[in-house]
């Protein structure tokens, strides 16, 4: 299977040949790749060099935390990449943004109202967790829609709090 990995705008073509061999941009490499004791931690030995990384899937990207640096990788096979390019990337910034609670906590205040116009970076909601008040900000300009929670309410992680359209 041939994949295209993109990190910081740079593309790597990686072909997985079998359990022990890959081709990186055409170069054949021997790899020893294992998952560490069932955890999302992976060990890679390549040309005698040993690497270890914590890998986490975040929406359509992969986060690779290695030696204190976080890389964000998009992994696609050739078909997926063609589809995405055909789509032309026109589908960005449309549809509502749903603000979800990044952690469980207590809604302290909602300084906006439904129908209110907000700018990117404006505070939408204040959530208290771990003794700190966290300001959750709008990632873009828009209009506040459907506020689903009230101050004083306890919310779960990933719970949708309100939307910006």
């Amino acid at each position: 299977m041939k994949y295209i990995a993109t990190i910081d705008g740079k593309e790597y073509t990686i072909e997985v040949l079998d359990e022990r061999h890959i081709r990186l941009d055409g170069q054949l490499l021997e790899v020893d790749f294992t998952q560490v004791s069932g955890q999302p931690v992976y060990s890679l030995i390549i040309n005698g060099q040993s690497f270890e990384a914590y890998v986490h899937r975040d929406e359509d990207e992969w986060e690779v935390l290695m030696s204190g640096h976080q890389y964000r990788a998009r992994i696609e096979d050739e078909r997926e990449k063609r589809l995405r390019l055909a789509g032309g990337g026109a589908a960005t910034q449309t549809g509502p943004y749903h603000l979800k609670a990044p952690m469980p906590g207590l809604v302290v205040a909602i300084p906006v109202q439904e129908g209110q116009e907000v700018k990117k970076g404006e505070v939408l909601l204040i959530l208290e967790s771990m003794k700190m008040q966290n300001e959750l900000k709008s990632p873009r300009d828009g209009v506040v829609q459907r506020i689903r929670v009230q101050p004083g309410e306890n919310v779960e992680q990933r719970q949708t709090l309100l939307s910006v359209e």
């Binding site: 299977m1 990190i7 997985v16 390549i46 992969w62 290695m66 952690m103 302290v108 992680q157």
Partner: protein, 502 residues
């Protein structure tokens, strides 16, 4: 004299105090909330008593229940740790009234230093400059604060009267933005301390936050254990501390130490305490406040002086003299502490909760880890996000930094996000290596992405690892749907199934 100690706290500090008690041969009593049934301090203690539900005000802030547990268990003394009830004079008094020993200062000293007006007046009388502000005038309304802000000048800080740890604190750059910030600060102060009073303080630009550890016994002996550099902060929360400070020379240390001892004497202080100073670039120092308790970062001082501060606290509480005179205090090498918090440094330090699924703690020469968590433990949103303190000692500051790099690299903690990558980036920062930083450094001049890394970046390796993980997932998903992946052929399988169901 007591032989059993109740520890009125949780997390790493409860474990730290338990350890000192164990080494002294004292029996230990833990208290816990419903969320902490499996916590390390409960598992390590000889006895443990449930206080109540998870929220602090129903558990670790229930002084009455804590004293009840002490009496029930036959503990002779209570150690409050830091946070929670540690700086509440009424709690210390209630402990004494119950006929127990409070391992800390007298209630009168807590009250005097807790009341910032008295604290400032006291040290000012001792000839120590204080930062201009309104704390001495008592509680003011928003209108009065706005009026006084003009004479103090901007930038300034709004601080919670009952506060500490950066909660209820806001920075104000102009009069226009002040009303909104006052509202936010009061709201946070109310939520954290049950008291929404705030005061104003001039913000010293380019300031360093340096504190002096002191110890005082009941015989009037007061000594200082040198300084801790605590300037690396974010939202007024300390992230990293070191001793000695790269900014403090012998002369400044002696002057600050003498002033700290004087300040402690002024309130008749007993037990361990810390005098916090702001030091400007010309090495003028201003009294900030006194913390009448054990500090989070006390092990930094322990590593460079060899003095066990918690054991000294217990010794003092037992009515003995200090084990050391000022001349006995010697500083050796350099110590650094990184606070390991359950926060995502790649996402604006958002707190992270969840179960720790895997944990490998660094070890080897010169390393100390104080923690209250373990693999399998659940990080809840009820308490502070600090899960461990990683400390190193080295002959020199450079060696300590190299050792800290090594230790951070060894640290593995899976299940929650941690700020370990932040510390790794800090250890690579030239400004940090040069000791050139102030309290604004992290927030204004430090970017995770901009630091030149010692370890070369390997996006190619990251790409390979991510691809191999993605490839595994694709194949795994395919295997689950594809029925042909049974270990026998489909024909055999069907015939077997038919025979079984005949």
């Amino acid at each position: 004299m007591f032989n059993k100690v109740l520890i009125a706290n949780r997390g790493e500090i409860a474990v730290r105090i338990l350890r000192a008690c164990r080494e002294l041969g004292l029996e230990t009593v833990a208290v816990y909330s419903e969320a902490d049934r499996n916590a390390l301090h409960v598992r390590y203690a000889d006895e443990a008593y449930l206080l109540g539900p998870a929220p602090s005000r129903e558990s670790y802030l229930r002084g009455d229940k804590i004293i009840e547990a002490a009496l029930k268990s036959g503990a002779g003394a209570i150690h409050p740790g830091y946070g929670f009830l540690a700086e509440r004079a009424d709690f210390a008094q209630a402990v004494l009234d119950a006929g127990l020993v409070f391992i800390g200062p007298k209630p009168s000293a807590i009250a005097a230093m807790g009341d910032k007006a008295i604290a400032r007046a006291t040290v000012r009388a001792a000839g120590v400059p204080v930062v201009p502000g309104t704390e001495d005038v008592g509680n003011l309304s928003d209108e009065e604060l706005l009026e006084r802000a003009k004479s103090i000048g901007f930038p300034l800080l709004i601080k919670a009267t009952a506060g500490g740890g950066g909660k209820g604190m806001r920075e104000v750059r102009s009069l226009e933005e002040m009303p909104a910030l006052l509202t936010a600060a009061r709201r946070e102060a109310k939520a954290s301390f049950g008291d929404d009073n705030v005061y104003l303080e001039k913000l010293i630009v380019g300031a360093r936050h340096i504190e002096i550890q002191i110890l005082a016994d009941t015989f009037g002996n007061v000594i200082h254990l040198g300084e801790r550099e605590c300037s690396l902060q974010r939202r007024h929360q300390k992230l990293l501390e070191e001793s000695p400070s790269p900014f403090v020379d012998d002369d400044l240390r002696q002057r600050m130490g003498a002033v700290a001892v004087q300040a402690a004497r002024a309130v008749d202080y007993v037990n361990a305490g810390t005098i916090e100073f702001l030091v400007d670039k010309d090495k003028n120092f201003y009294f900030l406040e006194m913390n009448t308790r054990l500090q989070v970062e006390h092990p930094v001082t322990e590593l460079v002086t060899g003095i066990d501060i918690v054991k000294e606290q217990i010794r003092i509480a037992r009515g003995r003299q200090l084990s050391y005179s000022q001349e006995d205090v010697r500083f050796k090498g350099h110590a650094i502490e990184c606070r390991i918090n359950a926060e995502d440094p790649f996402n604006n330090f958002m707190p992270s909760t969840g179960r720790i699924t895997h944990m490998n703690i660094p070890s080897g020469p010169g390393i100390r880890v104080d923690t209250g968590v373990y693999a399998g433990f659940e990080i809840t949103p009820y308490y502070d996000p600090m899960i461990a303190k990683l400390l190193v000692w080295g002959e020199t500051r450079a060696q300590a930094i190299l050792r800290m790099r090594r230790a951070l690299e060894e640290y593995r903690l899976i299940g929650v996000r941690t700020n370990i990558p932040f510390h790794q980036t800090m250890m690579d920062s030239h400004r940090f290596m040069g000791g050139q930083y102030d309290t604004r450094f992290v927030e204004e001049r430090f970017r995770m992405e901009e630091v030149e890394r010692t370890a070369p970046l390997r996006p190619d390796v990251a790409a390979i690892i991510a691809t191999l993980v993605a490839d595994r997932e694709t194949r795994l998903a395919a295997q689950i749907i594809r029925p042909a992946k049974r270990d026998t052929s489909n024909w055999k399988w069907v015939s077997r199934w038919e025979r079984l169901h005949r």
